[in-house]
Amino acid sequence: MYNMTSIRVYADKIYALWLREVKVFFREKSRLVASTFTPLLWLFVIGSGFSSSTSVAHSIDYQKFIFPGIICMSVVFSAVFFGSYIIWDRKFDFLKSVMVAPVSRSTIFTGKAFGGMTNSLIQVSILLVVGLIIGIQFSPLALVQTVVIVLLLSFALTSLGLTLGSYMTSLEGFQMIISFVVFPLFFLSGALFPIDKLPQWLSVLTTVDPVTYAVDALRNIILGIGSHPLGLDLLILLIYSCVLGALGTYSFKKMKAV
């Protein structure tokens, strides 16, 4: 049998890195509250505010229409923030103490990515409960599909955040990421509007935004409406995950320890 001890040691290392992220997540109260509160605010304020004035396709209540988009919003924010939070880990030298341990960079990356996916999943769970309250119901299959999409998107975007964060040494970089990555990813995704009838230039941007496919997939799963077949959305998300995951691993290998 292949060396069991080394497999266990490897699993322990990933578990240790993951455990740290999850503990920190629950202890950073302000971050937790803020990142849960923002999507709820959108869902209720934008959702109700526009319900009356906007008519979207398939004559669905606007609040329900943007619900999949709000789930994706929560993932975009939590995953990219989580990833770029590595700037703080470096600033406060925690990362140095991990990099001086006998743990390969790709293992560190994997542990971090698992942490990011867990964070996203926890936040999405809260939203799903709120969804039940506003009358959005799930079959068990839909729930499983939703979780798969959320995990894929979260992995891709955590990787993106980790990649960007690994090149940045100052906290100002964080502001840049919010303005130039987080907001565009969200607004261009069609989370708030149907993507069928967009002007050309916007349509191009929407097509390259990975979040578009997660929003579309979730609309398909939750509301039964979508612009692409679910399989295509899934495939594109998978491709993005692989590419961004590889990019992140590469950046971690190149990252300077001190």
Binding site: K13, A16, L17, F92, K96, S97, V100, A101, P102, V258
Partner: protein, 319 residues
């Protein structure tokens, strides 16, 4: 245990570590002494595989730092100049996570953590978040973390930086206890002369990336020509002739009505001197490593390093 061959680190124009060669034996407590910017941290970062040397090579525990970094990392524990534990986790959790990262076997993991906490006196506070620790407790936690996987070599980068005098002495006690209990090889850097004197078997004095003196603390102090004895004589002129003829007196100078002697071993030889001359007063002092440093570099390390980093910060501000 550690062999360093022509190790060099260059940043654009600045050479932080300049062609350094050095051997450190197993069980040694080796001190790297030098001012801010001398290159101490850079040496440690290279040996710990965190920083790629520009040229040269080194082995730690017989593993090459560039070819076998993971094996080097398993062999070493390190306490960074700036504490690096996670503030939001408890002391225990920090140790637990690091024990797993180092692959400490689950069957002994819990015991290693308890022992390490015990050693640095943090058992009582293990379940407090690190952000509630004092500076001294943080540093002790870092030491515990550095020892969690039973390393062969421990690097301590300014372990007492910013601690008050009594916490510093506690830290020294821990370090001395470690040397006895764990049979470690320790490399420590410091600005504090008395610290190096007290803890180290051998000291390398660094200046501008080079080691400019390398010896035991005792021998380094001998470089200055022994102890100094200051006398006020009753019969000045005649007694000076007597003193000149004594074997133990190496140097003699008159100064401001006093006579200043360079003497090999003042404690032993003062009674001998007093047998031959009548004195009104006698004073003696031993050279400190600070004096050695001053002589070697022409700079006073104390002025630079007396304060913790906060004080240094404040000084910068004033300018």
């Amino acid at each position: 245990m550690i062999r360093i061959n022509n190790l060099t680190k260059r940043y654009e124009k600045l050479t932080a570590v300049d062609n350094l060669s050095l051997d450190i034996e197993q069980g040694e407590v080796f001190g790297l002494l030098g001012q801010n910017g001398a290159g101490k941290t850079t040496v440690i970062h290279m040996l710990a595989t965190l920083l790629k040397p520009t040229s040269g090579s080194a082995t730690v525990n017989n593993f090459d730092i560039q070819k076998e970094p993971e094996k080097v990392r398993t062999s070493i524990g390190i306490v960074f100049q700036v504490p690096s534990s996670d503030d939001l986790l408890t002391g225990y959790e920090n140790l637990q996570i690091h024990a797993m990262l180092y692959g400490v076997d689950p069957s002994i993991r819990e015991k290693r953590i308890q022992d390490a906490l015990e050693l640095v006196g943090l058992t009582e506070r293990k379940d407090d978040q690190v952000k509630k620790y004092s500076g001294g407790m943080r540093r002790r936690l870092e030491i515990a973390r550095g020892l969690i996987h039973s390393p062969k070599v421990l690097f301590l980068d300014e372990p007492t930086l910013g601690l008050d005098p009594s916490s510093r002495e506690t830290m020294w006690k821990y370090i001395q206890q470690l040397v006895k209990q764990e049979k470690l090889t320790i490399i420590l850097t410091t600005h504090y002369m008395e610290e190096a004197d007290m803890l180290c078997n051998r000291i390398g004095i660094m200046d501008k990336g080079k080691i400019i003196a390398l010896d035991t603390p005792t021998n380094l102090k001998l470089m200055l020509g022994g102890d100094i004895v200051k006398l006020k004589l009753k019969k000045h002129d005649s007694d000076i002739t007597v003193l000149k003829n004594l074997a133990c007196v190496k140097k003699i100078e008159s100064f401001d009505g006093y006579v200043i002697l360079g003497v090999d071993d003042a404690k032993k030889n003062i009674p001998e001197i007093l047998k031959h001359v009548d004195v009104e007063s006698v004073e003696s002092s031993s050279p400190t490593l600070s004096d050695v440093f001053l002589k070697l570099t022409g700079k006073n390390i104390k002025e630079q390093a007396e304060g913790g980093f906060l004080e240094r910060y404040v000084q910068y501000d004033k300018h």
